[in-house]
């Protein structure tokens, strides 16, 4: 004891009686159920974060595309028209598609490796 209440025998006895009367023994599966709740809560938080990430990414992408279309729609359309009429310009579309497909496949493989 750090102060002078060492002589409070009656109070100590009363506190002991009151505490013993209210003593709680948790059920034997308490740790298990608590861990299960923790795990469920973690999954819920992870799912919430994933949804938030997807929503914000979608919003950012659509915002970016909308801005691009709003600002450069005329230029893009005229370029596409030029490319479709000119063989030399249209030729660069094929390697670009191959390149993008390659990156898409690479992305899928790497994702699988990382998560596995």
């Amino acid at each position: 004891m750090e102060n002078g209440y060492n002589k409070d025998n009656a109070l100590r006895q009363a506190v002991n009686n009151a505490t013993e009367a209210n003593k709680v023994k948790l059920p034997s599966n308490f740790a298990f159920t608590t861990m299960r709740r923790i795990e469920a809560e973690r999954c819920r938080t992870a799912r919430r974060n994933r949804i938030a990430a997807i929503v914000s990414l979608a919003a950012m992408c659509s915002g970016g595309i909308t801005t691009l279309v709003y600002l450069c729609a005329d230029a893009i359309i005229s370029n596409i028209k030029t490319m479709s009429h000119d063989d030399a310009h249209f030729a660069c579309v094929v390697p670009m598609v191959i390149c993008l497909s390659f990156f898409a496949v690479l992305n899928t493989i790497l994702r699988k490796r990382m998560n596995g």
Partner: protein
């Protein structure tokens, strides 16, 4: 078992290790909460909430206090906010009544008064009950009591003194047959 190492492991992603803390301190935390919240089902739920909150904030455990004291503080706060939601009213006593320390000391030391004191303790506010239990039953050091209850360390002794006086006044009023 070195608890700080276990906590480091939990932070590293070995979440199952948290079960050790629940097993070890569950009953003690439950007793603390049960003193505040008499309904055992509610108390059990609150203990679970406290351990979940502890797990979610384990990164903020800095080791200034032991894990037991830290989780007790979280459980205490959970229990107090639960009681606030219930809006229970407790007995109030005019503590300005002049009483000498010797009078209080006599009552607190007289073992024949234990039963009266036990009834008087029942009428205290939960935070007052907890303070008494942490001091007289758990024999906790003042700094740990201060940490758990959120009281300034220097004020714990003052609070204890006021609670003793309040108990004395409750007993005296009962003796005189007055309504509190």
């Amino acid at each position: 078992m070195d608890e700080s190492k276990l906590i480091a492991r939990i932070l590293d992603g070995h979440t199952d290790d948290y079960g050790y803390f629940i097993e070890r301190y569950g009953d003690s935390v439950a007793s603390l909460v049960a003193r505040l919240v008499p309904c055992h089902e509610d108390a059990e739920e609150l203990v679970q909430d406290a351990f979940i909150s502890g797990f979610n904030h384990i990164g903020s455990f800095l080791g200034h206090a032991s894990f037991h004291t830290w989780i007790s503080r979280i459980a205490y706060r959970c229990a107090i906010s639960h009681l606030r939601r219930k809006r229970i009213t407790y007995v109030e006593i005019d503590e300005r009544t002049p009483v000498t320390d010797a009078e209080i000391d006599d009552v607190m030391a007289d073992s024949r008064r234990a039963e009266l004191l036990e009834r008087a303790i029942d009428r205290l506010r939960p935070d007052e009950k907890t303070l008494l239990t942490l001091y007289y039953y758990d024999n906790m050091p003042m700094k740990d009591i201060a940490y758990i209850t959120g009281i300034e360390p220097g004020n714990v002794a003052t609070k204890l003194h006021r609670i003793r006086k309040k108990l004395y006044l409750i007993i005296k009023k009962d003796d005189n047959g007055e309504r509190i």
